[in-house]
Amino acid sequence: MKPTFRTIHLFSILAVLAVGVFVVAVLSGNITWFSTEPPLEFNPGMDHQFKAIPQSSNSFFANRSSLREPLTGTVARNVDVYTLGQGDIDAAEIENVNPGLPKTEFVAARGQNRFNVFCSPCHNYDGKGESRVAVRGQWAGIPDLTRPETQALSDARIFHIVSAGQNLMPSYADKISTVDRWAIVYYLRMLQGVESMPSTSSSPTAGRASTGRSNLN
């Protein structure tokens, strides 16, 4: 009699404990059984199909990347390539022509957004160069973009520096689209105080009219 009761008790205690552990595990939602191992898959089904997906590795190719490099001399569609090298300063003055971006708040806002994303890590939000990376990474050679020397550079030249890079400053042609780079130049002129800020009341000048939601469709 006695030992059997005890075993039954033992079972129920174990069961209650197990349930408790799972309730906590599930409710906290933070628990993984094998956290640094890939998640277990009980029913993989069609989860992993035999196709190359972006950023997958591929043992078929020598550099193990399933993304192939374009052939030399070919150019992807809808991508403007910046062909000038760092040294082609004179050509840059002639070839880099502003595509006629309107000077509106929208364009300024885009320039500000891209500047904050791509330039502010090094040049800081105000362009003066005392950025987080400059301070923490002890990078002394980052110039103040609002100084007179930089103000004196032409728009085409600044566009050229952003697109092709200059000495230790990397090129951003592959990360920022052409239009966005011109928007950055416009915003940089505002930081320098050369351009004034567009009035916030949106003027119905250039561009297509759009109605909030439906313009992407």
Binding site: M46, N63, L101, P204
Partner: protein
């Protein structure tokens, strides 16, 4: 009818089988789920890259490295070229960056371990969500506080649909760190300070608008009225799709 001993043994067996079956059921029902299996997945990466340092402390915006999110389905992890933008000079000798330098010199990509992954029969598109000003945090958790990235959300179909049906409960509005374009110019008086930086310019004119983490539908200013070709136009998020063919095709 049965002997006493058999009776007790029988009860014991039933209780035992019941308990085991119960546990198996509980494991099966609650345990084999993305919430338990996938959430918290936190692989070791070949290079000890820290989002807490780069995005949190250095305030490098997510899009500096994951720039594709705005325009494409995928939000690729950065190429080694991106790292070398800074690390040609910053910590150029660091042993932790040895693999990055090697990859940069040889041109072979670094093999980061993939964390977030929906099954191949699901088509997820970042750009649509980013342009609707949905912050990365809604789906990836506070990455900028993570030393090692771990999956914060289950990425199940139920999870996608929950948000598509009631976005206001799930969407975190665009935050400065994500670099999501909201179409608004921000105050330029406080350019030194990144938190003030994101006070919208309207504040200068006397009607301050809070822009950090607005709730869904709380965007107080209308979107700017004109569009320029080549600049992705932000939009106010509507409801997401529920029809099967939007995600499975």
């Amino acid at each position: 009818m049965f002997s006493r001993k058999f009776d007790v043994g029988f009860k014991q067996a039933v209780a035992g089988i019941g308990a085991v079956a119960g546990i198996v059921f509980l494991i099966g029902y609650f345990g084999v789920r993305n919430e338990v299996l996938d959430v918290g997945y936190r692989p070791e990466q070949p290079v000890p890259f820290s989002h807490k340092l780069h995005a949190g402390d250095l305030q490098v915006s997510c899009q500096y490295c994951h720039g594709g999110a705005e325009v494409s389905a995928h939000s690729p992890v950065p190429t080694t070229q991106t790292c070398m933008n800074c690390h040609t000079l910053v910590k150029a000798e660091s042993p932790k960056l040895k693999l990055v330098r090697e990859s940069y010199e040889t041109g072979n990509p670094l093999e980061w371990v993939r964390i977030h992954k929906v099954p191949d029969y699901v088509h997820f598109n970042h750009s649509r969500h980013i342009r609707a000003q949905i912050d990365c945090k809604s789906c990836h958790g506070p990455i900028e506080q993570m030393g090692v990235v771990s999956q914060a959300k289950p990425l199940t179909m139920g999870w996608c649909l929950d948000c598509h049906r009631k976005p206001e409960d799930h969407i975190v509005g665009a935050r400065p760190i994500s670099g999501i374009f909201t179409g608004k110019l921000h105050d330029m008086k406080h350019l030194k300070d990144s938190t003030y930086m994101y006070t919208p310019i309207k504040a200068q004119l006397g009607t301050p608008v809070a822009l950090t983490e607005p709730a869904f539908g709380q965007w107080t200013t209308a979107l700017p009225a004109h569009q320029v070709d080549g600049i992705p136009h932000p939009k106010v998020a509507g409801l997401g799709p529920e029809n099967c063919s939007a995600c499975h095709y």
